[in-house]
Subunit: 481 residues, 2 copies
Amino acid sequence: MNTISIDSVSRFDDDADVIILGYGIAGACAGLEARRAGGDVLVVERAGGASGASMLSSGIFYLGGGTDVQAAAGFDDDPDNMYRSMIASMGPEQAELVRTYCDGNVAHFEWLEEQGVPFERSYHPDKAVFLMSTEGLMWSGNEKVWPYRDIARPVPRGHQVAMEGDASGAGAMQALLARCAEEGVRASFDSVAEALIVDEAGRVCGVSARQFGKAKLFKARRGIIVATGGFGRNTEMLTHHFPALPASAEPMGIPHTDGAGILMAVAAGGDVRGMDGLIATASIYPPGQLVKGIIVNRLGRRFVSEDSYHGRTASFIMEQPAQRAYLIVDSEIFAYPEIASAQHRLIDGFDSIVEMEAALELPPGSLVRAMEAYNEHAREGRDPLFEKHGDWLKPLDAGPWAAFDISFDRSIYYYITLGGLRIGPDAHVLDAEGNPVPGLWAAGACTAHLSPDGKSYASGMSLGPGSYFGRIAGRSAMGSS
Amino acid sequence: MNTISIDSVSRFDDDADVIILGYGIAGACAGLEARRAGGDVLVVERAGGASGASMLSSGIFYLGGGTDVQAAAGFDDDPDNMYRSMIASMGPEQAELVRTYCDGNVAHFEWLEEQGVPFERSYHPDKAVFLMSTEGLMWSGNEKVWPYRDIARPVPRGHQVAMEGDASGAGAMQALLARCAEEGVRASFDSVAEALIVDEAGRVCGVSARQFGKAKLFKARRGIIVATGGFGRNTEMLTHHFPALPASAEPMGIPHTDGAGILMAVAAGGDVRGMDGLIATASIYPPGQLVKGIIVNRLGRRFVSEDSYHGRTASFIMEQPAQRAYLIVDSEIFAYPEIASAQHRLIDGFDSIVEMEAALELPPGSLVRAMEAYNEHAREGRDPLFEKHGDWLKPLDAGPWAAFDISFDRSIYYYITLGGLRIGPDAHVLDAEGNPVPGLWAAGACTAHLSPDGKSYASGMSLGPGSYFGRIAGRSAMGSS
C-alpha cells in the first residue's frame, strides 16, 4: 500500500478540519471532541451507517480509579491502585499511556455518563464473561488472580452499559451517535478509505476513498484520525502474525476489521507494535463452580490457575502441546459451560481417574498424580503450584468424574487482535524513531492495545481505552488539549 | 538435518550405556550421575577438552530456598518463596520445572559443595554484574525490583564460586571434571556430533560424529543426553529468531554454541520452545550510584525502572524506538560505567537540561518535563511511573548534567540465547504433542531456559538449572530417579 502525493490531486470532493476514518466508538468520541473544539469534522465510514465492532460488543468498559459505580458497590479504588494493577500484568512497555489512562479515568467515566451512556449502580459478584442483565459493575480481568491480587487491591473494573442482552455496546454507541448527530459531526457512509494523501512537507492532509465505485478525495486541514479497528479479518496478516491459530478460531466483531487503516498509516510512516498479541476466549465459566475443576494438558499436567480470566486461560491453552486441554470436574461441581458457542464437548463421565486418564490418552499415572497432589493441597486450602484463590479450592474427590475437551482446535475460540499503530499519550501516530507522523492520529483497536497479550487483557480494554484515546485524538488533532 | 536409520549402520566404533553430547556443566553433571547409577558413560565433545561456555562464565549459580550461604548472610529464604519469586517474573509456563528446581535447590547446593565446588559464606551487598572477588552471595536478578519485591520476600540468590577474577565458572568446572575423571566418565574429544541414530522402533540409540575428518559411530544402550549449549553463534538461527539484533551485539561464551544439538534433537522429533528469548547485557552498573540516574528513549521518556537487573533494562532498550537510550546523571552521581566492554560513550556534559535535550535531538520540552516530574516525585521519595526502589531515588538537580549513549546499536551488548529443546521434569526431550522422544534427554543451554526472556532472567539461571537438570538427565537416562 502506498500514500498518494498531493501533486497528483487536482481537486477535492470535500474537506474538513479533521477527518476520522471509522465510526466505531473511538471515531465517535474523537468526532465529538474535535467538534467541540470548534472543528468541522467528517467521518469516513465504509459501512452504510455508524457502528463498528463496538455496536455488537458486550458493552463493558474497563474503568476505575474510584468511579461512582465502584463506590456505590463498596469498592475502594484509586488511580495509583489501578495503575499498579494494570502495569503488573501488562509490564511497563506503555507505562505513560497507562498512567494517562488511569489518571483520567474517573473524569472519563463521568463524561460518558454526561453523553447519555447509562451505567447502573449495581454489582454482579459472580464469575461472568458478559451480562445479559443490566448490572453496572463486574469482575472482568485478573485482579483477584495471583500474583496480581498481592500487588494491587483487587477491585472490579468492568463497567457494563445498562442494557439487556449480550450486545450492550449498542447502548453506548446509540448515546454517542445521537450526540454526534445533534452537534453536527458529518459523515460520508459507504466510503471505503483506500490511501492517505500526503503534502509536499510529508504531512498527512487527506484521504482517498471509494464510494459506490467512484473515487472520493477528502482534504483534512488539521489532520486525519485513524479509528478503523483491528485486523481480525485480514487473512494475510493473521497468517503472518499468528501461525498457530487453528482454522476453528473465529474473529470477533464485524467483517470490516481487515486492518486497512493500519496499513494506510504504516504507508505514511506510522510504526506498529505488539502485532503478535491476541486475546482469545472460549470461557469455561459461567457457571463459576467449573473454576473449581482443574485444567490439564496432553501430559496430564496443570498449566494455569483455573480462576484466571478466560482470556488468560486461553492464552496458556494456545501454548500447550498440540494446543490440547481438558477440564476435569467431579460430581459435586459438574455442570455444562453456559456459553454454548464455545462448543466445549463433554467427553464422558468416568468412575475412576485411571479410566479417565486412559480415555484421554494421557501418560500413564500422570493424571492420577496430578489429582492426588491437587486434592491433598486443596484439603489444606492451598495451591502451591499456581496459587489459585482459596474461594475456588476444593478436593475433587466426589466421583464419578467428567472431562470436557477445551482444546484450542476442538472448541470454538473467538479472538480479537491486540496489536496496531503505535501512538503517544496525545494519540499522535509515531514513526519507528518515535517521532509523530505529521497530521496523523489514531485511537481504538487499530492502535496497539494497552495490554500486549491475552494473558493481561481484561474485558473492557477495547471500549475503555478506545473511547478515552479517541477523545484525546479529537482534541489533539484540533490543537487543543 | 536428518536422523540416521540404524539400518544403514554396519558397525559402531564404540558404545556406552549413556552418551552425552557436550562437556560443559550440564554434561559433566549428567555424566557423574549416570556413572554413579552404574552406567558406562561416554561424553562426545567437539573441543579438544572438556569446558563449555561454563568454564568461561562468571561462575554464578542461581540457587536458593534456604542454602547455607543465604543463612550465613542472614537471609531467610524457602522453596515456596523462591518459587513465588521466579513464577511471578517468568510466568507459569514452566511451573512444574520451576517447582522441581526450587524444591530440590538446597540439596543441589549441598551436592555441588560435596563435589568440591567452593562457595564462601560471605555477601556482596552492592549492585554488581559479576565479582572479581570471592564473595559467595550477591543480588543477581530482579528480586528487589517492583512488582517482584511485593510478591515474594526479596533475598539474593546469586551464589558465586569462590575464585578470583571474572571467570569463576572455571572453579566449578575444574571440581566437577576432576570427579568425572576419578570416577571413570569416558570422553571422546575433538568429536563433532552430526546426527542422531534411530532404531526401528523410533528410539534414539546412537550418534554419528566426525573426529579428525573421519566418521565415528557411537551406540547408546540406554540413551543420549544432549548438552550442547545455546545457538548464539548460528547466524541463520539468530537472523530468524532475532531480526532486531544489531550487528554490534556479541554472543557470550564459546564459538561452539551453534545450536547443532538442538537441530539434531529436532530432527529426531524433539520440540523447541521460547526460541525468541534472549538475555542481553551492557550494564550501566557498577557503580551502583548510576542507578540513581534516569534512562530515557528517543522521545525523552523513561521506559523502565533503572534499578532493574541489567538484562531486564537491556530487554526494554531493545524495544524502544530505533533501540536508542540515554543514561542521564547529575554531577552528584556522575561516574563512568565500570564494565568498559559495554562501550557506553559519554556524550557530553551540559549546563542545562534544555541544552542536553537539544544535543540528544529529543522532542523539544520532552526531557525537561520528564526530569521535572522525576525530580518532584524523587523529593517525595516515590516514583509513581515505575516504582523504582527508594534506595535509588534522588532528585537529579545538581548540575551540570551528563549523558551516556547506552543505545542497543551504539554500545556493545553481549547476549545469551534462551530458547531450546522442550523437556519434562525428568529432563526427557518432549515432542510437539508433549510425549517423550524415546531414548533422548537434554539439559543446559540447549534446552529452553526456565526464564523465557531477558526481562525475567537473572545471573546464574544458566549454571544453576543447567547443573540441576543435567543431574536429573543422567539419572533419568539410567532409569533411576
